[in-house]
């Protein structure tokens, strides 16, 4: 490999340097119909799963075909998306917040050709490349994090379990037969860079063993006060220990105070926390972000732990599907999963789903915990 210079001169880094130019302006890549009718949209309709029609005050129409995509995506895949955009959409394409891809066209015939083309493309391994769906009262694409593909703190993989869950609920991506939208998300540790804490079904990687302490390296790799300050339960304290006959600065961890958040490991690589047997996934349900009917709410933990079972995570997918099915069979129209659980009461949620309620599900983290206990004689046997 011969190094190819971009023109950057390391001897003079400031020469011709361009900085702080930000992103491209949002309207630079608007399809013409979007540009023309900006701020003048009148109403929309979901014509079929994955196909939206927006009608402007001018009478102009734009048809949107939405497809699910892998968030971890190759440039070969992106170039194929560009080819499709060039063929049908004048080169324009957009992504949604939930990793869906949207192609927009102005007439129904092109929309149908585009939709059929997208549905026909498959990877060599057999999966769809661009399944059309993800609209209305169904399951949209999952938002997720990096997992074992590219992160240092995960308690599970992300792309893998997402693939397995979406395979399992694929019919709900392709249909609109649920009581309301169901947003599923996965974060591979409780850092939640994927912020799944307000999802209808949030899957979150959890550790279950306190970190190990690498005394040999703690003082060399870490700012010990930062590792101490990082602990939300004050389980970490500074100490001196004997290592190889020498007194070294390190930390001590009060194990029964640790709730395995891994925050200390983030600050100090000498406190590794990952553990093949200990790690797994918790399931949280009933969160939402929309203000529709009820206020936004957090997801609640209903399964404290499911082991990591790569490559297909069968217990996880079965449990998610089961929760989804029980919700679909019992909730009212427009009722989000959390609103349904609130209406029937969480004791009924556990009865209907058959999920086992255990001590792990009772909050014991700080003051908010008390407000989740039942200060009433009103409950269901």
């Amino acid at each position: 490999m011969a190094f190819i210079s971009s023109g950057y001169n390391p001897e003079k880094p400031m020469e011709g340097r361009i900085t702080d130019i930000g992103p491209h302006k949002y309207d630079e890549y608007f399809p013409p119909v979007i540009k023309k009718n900006f701020g003048k949209w009148l109403y929309h309709e979901i014509l079929e799963p994955g196909v939206l029609l927006h009608v402007a005050e001018s009478g102009d129409k734009v048809y949107t075909v939405r497809v699910g995509g892998t968030r971890t995506m190759s440039i070969t895949n992106i170039r194929e998306i560009c080819d499709i955009a060039d063929k049908y959409c004048g080169g324009y394409v957009r992504w949604t917040t939930r990793n869906n891809i949207e192609f927009m066209v102005e007439d129904e015939a092109t929309m149908k050709a585009l939709r059929d083309d997208l549905n026909s493309r498959k990877f060599a391994g057999g999966s769809y490349k661009f399944p059309v769906g993800g609209t209305g009262a169904g399951v949209s694409n999952m938002v997720h994090t990096q997992g074992w593909v590219h992160c240092h703190t995960p308690a599970t993989d992300a792309s893998g379990p997402v693939k397995c869950v979406m395979d399992t609920v694929f019919e709900e991506f392709k249909n609109m037969r649920l009581p309301a939208p169901v947003r599923i998300a996965l974060a591979c540790c409780i850092n939640m860079c994927g912020a799944v804490h307000c999802s209808d079904i949030g899957l979150v990687g959890i550790h279950r063993k306190p970190p190990m302490i690498d005394h040999q390296w703690a003082d060399k790799l870490c700012e010990i006060p930062l590792a101490v300050a990082a602990c939300p339960t004050a389980a970490v304290r500074p100490t001196k220990v004997e290592y190889n006959g020498e007194k070294v600065n390190s930390v001590a961890i009060k194990q029964d105070r640790c709730m395995y958040c891994g925050n200390c490991y983030t600050m100090c690589p000498a406190l590794p926390i990952s553990d093949g047997e200990g790690d797994g996934i918790a399931i949280m349900v009933g969160g939402k972000v929309s203000n529709r009917i009820t206020m936004p709410k957090f997801s609640k933990v209903v399964v404290g732990y499911i082991p990591n079972e790569p490559p297909r995570w069968p217990t996880l997918t079965k449990t998610v599907k089961h929760i989804l099915d029980v919700y679909a069979a019992n909730a009212n129209k427009y009722e989000r999963l959390g609103d349904w659980a609130n209406r029937i009461g969480w004791e009924s949620f556990f009865k209907l789903t058959g999920l086992k309620f255990t001590h792990h599900l009772i909050d014991d983290f700080r003051d908010p915990a008390y407000y989740t206990w039942r200060q009433s004689t009103q409950f269901k046997f």
Binding site: S6, I21, I81, T97, N99, F123, I293
Partner: protein, 437 residues
Amino acid sequence: MAKHATPLLDQLESGPWPSFVSDIKQEAANRAANPKGLDYQIPVDCPEDLLGVLELSYEEKETHWKHGGIVGVFGYGGGVIGRYCDQPEKFPGVAHFHTVRVAQPAAKYYHSKFLRDLCDIWDLRGSGLTNMHGSTGDIVLLGTQTPQLEEIFHELTHKMSVDLGGSGSNLRTPEACLGQSRCEYACYNTQDMCYQLTMDYQDELHRPAFPYKFKFKFDGCPNGCVCAMARSDFAVVGTWKDDIKIDQDAVKAYVGGEFKPNAGAHSGRDWGKFDIQKEVIDLCPSKCMSWDGSKLSIKTADCVRCMHCINTMPRALHIGDERGASILVGAKAPVVDGAQMGSLLVPFISCEAPYDDVKEVIEKIWDWWMEEGKNRERVGETMKRLSFQKLLEVTDTEAAAYHVREPRSNPYIFFKEEEVPGGWDRDLAAYRNRHQR
């Protein structure tokens, strides 16, 4: 022939959902074939080594990535995340595998020309693998080596006129819903506010000076498609003050079954005939609506703008004309002190460019948080530690009942000294004259 056997990952190629494993394999094959005859600047087989190290994680159920080192481009403190593999001998192609965050246009509208140019840079100088997109919104280029970072930055800025996104303790890449570009519910130009503020705060975005990360998100209406209230320290959520606009004929068309309720979102199941009383009037959270069989009425003073009626009858009901946004502050995911939702600070703010009134609120919050915030403390946690009253004080906001769900249920009130006649400087001798010890 694949470099590494991946019997576990191979099982993720079946099933209908798009397989990232198939996709990475496709990129591995593309690089091996090298149809463009490129002199790849990082190992040609890095996608294969990525599959290899991932297969190892699938066997052991543990990650093989280490903490990021300090890597980046000159003069910036963010935008690049260092990443190293902890089995570099086995997987040399991904031994160094840094992430580059590239600023996306607000709401992620692209032209293929832009994407192809980006792919060309990443083909030559990176792994050919990306995230479209990262959770915060950036285009994430996944995997390159340190000597390529300045080259990539140079090409992004010189050839594509695009910048890096945020990482670390700085302003993270802001994002907006698609707003007025294709949505009739948008109460303000989310993309423009996002773009303007991103441009105005480039310094805060590239050069970490905050206690921890800070996120802006812009939702056009209370439906919250970009999850501002849950995911951003500073959430701007569109709303309006006047009457919901009603087209009574269109309401009748919904009642008569001519229009599908909720824009057809429920068409996959037979839910029976649309019942406006049951499906709209009775579900209204503030019970501000009535239907007398021919006319829909809404008492605006009681409306909390939840969007349900508008979502359900989008051809009949439209957002009002006196539009703006509410500002909610302090949302974050659980680490460290538990998850928080944004709390309402400003009930209504006009959203006219150049958004000086919005920026004023932001800058007052930053001044306070940069002074008082502890290392790695999100502003929501600072608010919890120092009180909502303090946030009101530093933003010159008068307390009002809409700031709370309910008033406090304890009388442990901190009064300001000037609120109490005579202040706190008291005369003990005079007290003792009145009261023997």
